[in-house]
Assembly symmetry: C2
Homo-oligomer: 286 residues x 2
Amino acid sequence: MNLFGSIEAGGTKFLCAVGNEKNQIITSEVIPTTTYEQTIKQVNHFFSVNKVSSIAIGSFGPIDNNKNSDKYGYILNTPKQGWSNVDLVFPIQKELDIPVFFTTDVNSSAYGEMHLNSCDNLIYYTIGTGIGGSVIQNGQFVGGVGHLEMGHQMVKKHPLDQDFNGVCPFHHDCLEGLASGPSIEARTGIKGENITSDSYVWDVQAFYIAQAIFNATLIIRPKMIILGGGVMYQDHMLGRVKAHFKLLMNNYITIENLDEYIKTPSIENNCSATIGNFLLAQKLLS
Amino acid sequence: MNLFGSIEAGGTKFLCAVGNEKNQIITSEVIPTTTYEQTIKQVNHFFSVNKVSSIAIGSFGPIDNNKNSDKYGYILNTPKQGWSNVDLVFPIQKELDIPVFFTTDVNSSAYGEMHLNSCDNLIYYTIGTGIGGSVIQNGQFVGGVGHLEMGHQMVKKHPLDQDFNGVCPFHHDCLEGLASGPSIEARTGIKGENITSDSYVWDVQAFYIAQAIFNATLIIRPKMIILGGGVMYQDHMLGRVKAHFKLLMNNYITIENLDEYIKTPSIENNCSATIGNFLLAQKLLS
């Protein structure tokens, strides 16, 4: 029986896991993200002990996942110290001598959710420290010349938010600048977890997230949109986002069942990425 | 040698054409859009005289192009009197007894431009009386559950345009509400063709169109974006749009050659739709 590897490469930890053909986790290990060299060494050690037939990596970004590029397999310019312009794929592929699939963390999550929801046309957004997104059309990732950067789209300002400049260093008040976790503290001076659920801030956040879903609905026409990430852990957020989405759409496109259309991830703690990676690793061998 | 049919179904005219395997137009006829029954009768008469092996229709919308739908082949709710909820495909397919491909007018144009630019990852926008768009990824139209409605995405307001409400009956100040042809006259009281090229209005329009390209760049990552439609016929517009796009992007994603990335259509008078239809009709037989 073949076993498959998953690496969720994040800025604070690398989650390595081994799964079987039923996507069950056989074993896993959390490796802290330290220096590039040491982290890769520990990842390779884990998979030299726990042998697998192929691996998929879902990485923090930006990354180069264009197979025709000189820098294929690299993490590109990242604020994470010591991790800009490093080759993530080659040192693992060379050491373990197995096929490695390389994509973004959100693509891995989207692929897992595609499987868990039996839905091959969907969009996955993560709304946390940053905002990222993935689009799957007929089981394929959308992205002509590179991975998507849906978090930085332009949005219309909320009337109560006109004076807030946004926190994106590139675009100030793009979606990420206005609706990511850090924007909450920047706007109010209070950490998100200390803001009561009746604060106007949540409604402002929901308005921006609803615009992202609205735009994605018109530009992609998916069957389903999944909203993950820390900001969506607030119980009241999903309902607020749906309410704003309905107002924005104004019946222009009919969504039969909004509760089936806008959802949070099927499994908690981002495990959809692990399952997505197992499936992407399996696909390398087919 | 097979011949192929193209029908560009518009609100004022139906352009019927016959092409050969080299996409050369053999003959064509402009049929005014009168009543539904009379227009279909004239279309069928044209193709009964000028025989073809298959036909592609690129239609004004909204349409139902979901093959699993009861209303597949229909024009849906349109402001065009007498044309709401009419079946465009069946009466043609039945009378001529040949395969018929049914899509949006912008999809036909995008497909023609894909061929003319040898580029299978592109976006086509038409900016005229309305705003529509098409996305092609690896030679396939993007659109999970129906055709795209990219014209209605939300955009950030231009500082000089804060008091303008927009002309979209559904969303007021969405992209179409702020940047379509009719928005120009609604904003100024003057028809677009009578506004000098140094008016601030063009810069406002370009700002919105640039946002549409910016969002599409982040959400799709295409190789190329083609801008068609009446508003883009103004010679100075393309340059303005590129300038705003550069400002918005702020080097977040590097576009190697902006002049190759943002372009107007390869051939004039919307002939890319005819070529797109010939190719889509050919594909039905392959």
